[in-house]
């Protein structure tokens, strides 16, 4: 008797919870937009910067009355810097929160884990800053607002070969990371084509603490520079340990270096090194300066390139929503309602509108998506001097 009573109570509680959850999902007439990112873990600053960039844009939109009077609601999930968690996070956003579009990730490995889920469910996903070409090849619902690694690798090779006039490179790549492996390969290809040689190609795994063994091997091959296409935590340690082993050549890298933590850990070890980024926060362009000032006022820190790209990704999505409202108000209305066939068709329309983005004026440059849903944009080369970033060049595609 007692047991049956408990079971009844448990069932009642469960029913109550379900009713509550269902109530939550339906209650508002806002448009739910999902955001997933690495708020914790080895690349925590990536996720935090991106989330802040998106929040800033969306709150500005909502403060101005939303899209045609309908507000946007952001639902954020943390993937702990792990690809498997990214898949879970996106699954939850789609199944439980009923989001109509997803913004994320920075790391290509994690975007690639989440993309098939969005594609399957027919939910458009815009990656602000995953640069591996394979990300958008996973389906037509997947797009991005940044350039891709073949371009980034070419830019690094060209800069080393033509601007710095160097011909002997070493590569130290993160073997567990799609972004790093891809960028290393694209760099090597371009560098060979320009008449340079890669004298040493070594690898490590994300999370490693000690790189001196690889660096000792690299040192013996006497390269003129070392390409480290990894993420900031490892890059900073690699730089320190390279200097401790007496390697004084410059390090070159990609947008994985973008983080306020980079120089905090590396201290002086990265002076004289260069990396590719997506924008330059001191660019006098008034739109950029307004974004930097707004961001500073709200978060008390300078927005890095990943915050800027996330801000633009949100912008591209809102732009598509506005067009949808103009072209098909009924479809737009279905976005704040329950999951129906009608809403599915509306989401497919968002996809088409996002993919057709042309000349959107973002803070990271004008955004036009090509046939493969990649943005065609210029790259910004930054140098490091006395623990400060300085502008070096803009490279057009």
């Amino acid at each position: 008797m007692i047991r049956r009573n408990t079971m009844f109570r448990a069932a009642a509680l469960l029913g109550l919870l379900l009713a509550f959850a269902a109530g939550c999902a339906k209650q508002s007439n806002e448009i739910p937009v999902g955001v997933y990112g690495s708020l914790t873990g080895t690349t925590a600053t990536f996720g935090i910067s991106s989330k802040q960039g998106i929040e800033l844009f969306m709150d500005n939109v909502n403060a101005a009355g939303g899209v045609a009077g309908t507000k946007l609601r952001i639902l954020v999930e943390d993937d702990q810097s792990k690809p498997e968690e990214a898949a879970t996070a996106v699954q939850k956003l789609i199944d439980q929160d009923g989001v109509v579009a997803v913004l994320g990730e920075v790391a290509s490995s994690r975007s690639m884990a989440a993309a098939p889920i969005c594609q399957q469910a027919g939910v458009p996903m815009i990656s602000p800053s995953s640069t591996n070409p394979k990300v958008t090849e996973l389906g037509d619902y997947i797009s991005r607002v940044c350039y891709i690694d073949p371009f980034q690798g070419m830019v690094i090779a060209k800069f080393a070969r033509q601007t710095l006039n160097l011909s002997k490179a070493a590569v130290l790549r993160d073997n567990k990371n799609d972004y790093s492996v891809g960028l290393a390969n694209y760099f090597s290809e371009s560098f060979h084509a320009m008449g340079g040689t890669v004298v040493s190609d070594e690898a490590y795994s994300e999370g490693d603490q000690d790189f001196k063994a690889q660096l000792t091997v690299i040192k013996q091959k006497k390269p003129q520079f070392i390409v480290v296409p990894g993420y900031y935590t490892e890059v900073a340690l690699i730089a320190r340990q390279a200097r401790e082993l007496g390697i004084d050549v410059p390090l070159l890298g990609g947008d994985g270096w973008v983080s306020e933590r980079l120089l905090e850990i590396a201290q002086d070890a990265l002076n004289g090194s260069y990396f590719v980024s997506h924008y330059w926060e001191k660019d006098p362009n008034p739109a950029i300066q307004k974004f930097v000032a707004d961001y500073r006022a709200r978060y008390n820190s300078t927005p890095d390139a990943l915050a800027a790209l996330a801000y633009d990704a949100a912008g591209v999505l809102v732009n598509a929503l506005e067009t949808l409202n103009k072209e098909d108000p009924a479809a737009f209305k279905s976005l704040s309602g329950p999951r129906t066939e009608k809403q599915k068709a509306a989401r497919a329309k968002i996809r088409d509108l996002v993919n057709a983005t042309k000349d959107y004026p973002g803070v990271t440059g004008r955004i036009t998506l090509d046939g493969k849903r990649n943005a065609v944009k210029s790259a910004t080369f930054l140098g490091i001097k006395n623990r400060e970033y300085e502008f070096v060049a803009v490279v057009e595609p």
Binding site: A44, I48, A213, V217, L237, E244
Partner: protein, 301 residues
């Protein structure tokens, strides 16, 4: 040739860290026949304790004082000794009579608890460990470059290992530890306070792990709550390699692990760096299951 010596020098410095962690595994195993899987996480807590102590004492300035550095090291060792004792008291003691599997699973639970508590309390993003000793590069004979941090690591490791050996071999408490490790019930019948000896063992093992954590923070100044997992596993392999339960074995095992990692990266491929630990483990288990310095124990049935 210079490259080989450079790899060996770095391997020995890195291996000393493994050795310090392996000592804790081996001591606890020697006394309780328990693989304390939370040990790698105590190493992590050691690094974080030092991080917060250094900030509290303002020890990480541009011109750091060596006295403060020693204070931070000792402070972190004391905190972790306390943590080790607490873990033993609250987690392992209640299940001590319930068989070894129960204790093992409890240890895994404590390990996960410490990791996730670390993420909660310290934040999951990597932290910059303050420079307790200003870095300097020293050139040894043959053009081998080492940092003063690496020298500190090796020297402190040697000092702690010698002190531990003397303690176990020459003091009354050490003798009692050996007795408990030999036969716990018999030792108890001879009037040895077994519980107190176990407490002391956990305190010493955890303090050594804390020292390893601080030394790693010194050489590679990036610490995060999951930093203990891989070194913990590798130090465990080192302890098994040396013969689990044997103190000199743990030291030799740690150094072999450190050096072989460097040689694998230097002369075979950097991809196999983490694989080498487990290749060594498999080989040891196949060829000499008791480890280099361990002895076979006949299991009573």
């Amino acid at each position: 040739m210079q490259e080989l010596f450079q790899q060996l020098a770095n391997g020995i410095a890195w291996g000393s860290i493994y050795a310090l962690i392996a000592l804790g595994y081996t001591m606890v195993y020697g006394i309780l026949r328990l693989i304390n899987f939370a040990h790698g996480d105590i190493y992590m807590v050691g690094a974080f304790a030092a991080y917060y102590l250094a900030r509290l004492l303002h020890a990480g300035g541009p011109d750091p004082s060596p006295l403060l550095a020693v204070a931070v090291l000792l402070g972190s060792m004391v905190i972790c000794a306390g943590l080790g004792v607490a873990i033993e008291f609250f987690a392992y003691r209640p299940v001590r009579k319930s068989g070894r599997l129960t204790a093992l699973i409890t240890a895994i639970g404590v390990s996960l608890l410490l990791e996730n508590l670390g993420i909660r309390l310290f934040g999951a993003d990597p932290k910059f460990f303050p420079q307790l000793v200003a870095p300097r590069t020293v050139t040894l004979a043959g053009g081998v470059l080492v940092t003063n941090h690496q020298i500190t690591v090796v020297v402190i490791s040697i000092v702690l290992m010698v002190a531990l050996t003397l303690f176990v071999q020459r003091t009354r408490t050490g003798k009692a530890m050996r007795a408990v490790s030999f036969h716990r019930d018999a030792a108890s019948l001879m009037g040895i306070p077994v519980n107190r000896i176990i407490t002391i063992t956990f305190a010493i093992g955890s303090a050594l792990a804390a020292a390893a954590g601080v030394l790693v923070g010194l050489t590679n100044p990036k610490i995060e709550p999951l930093m203990g997992i891989m070194p913990g596993v590798k130090a465990f392999v080192a302890a098994v390699l040396g013969g689990i339960g044997s103190i000199p074995g743990a030291v030799i095992g740690g150094l072999v692990m450190g050096v072989s990692e460097y040689l694998v990266v230097g002369y075979i491929s950097s991809t196999y760096r983490d694989a080498i630990a487990f290749i060594i483990l498999i080989l040891v288990l196949l060829i000499k299951p008791a480890g280099l310095l361990g002895h076979n124990v006949a299991e009573k049935v």
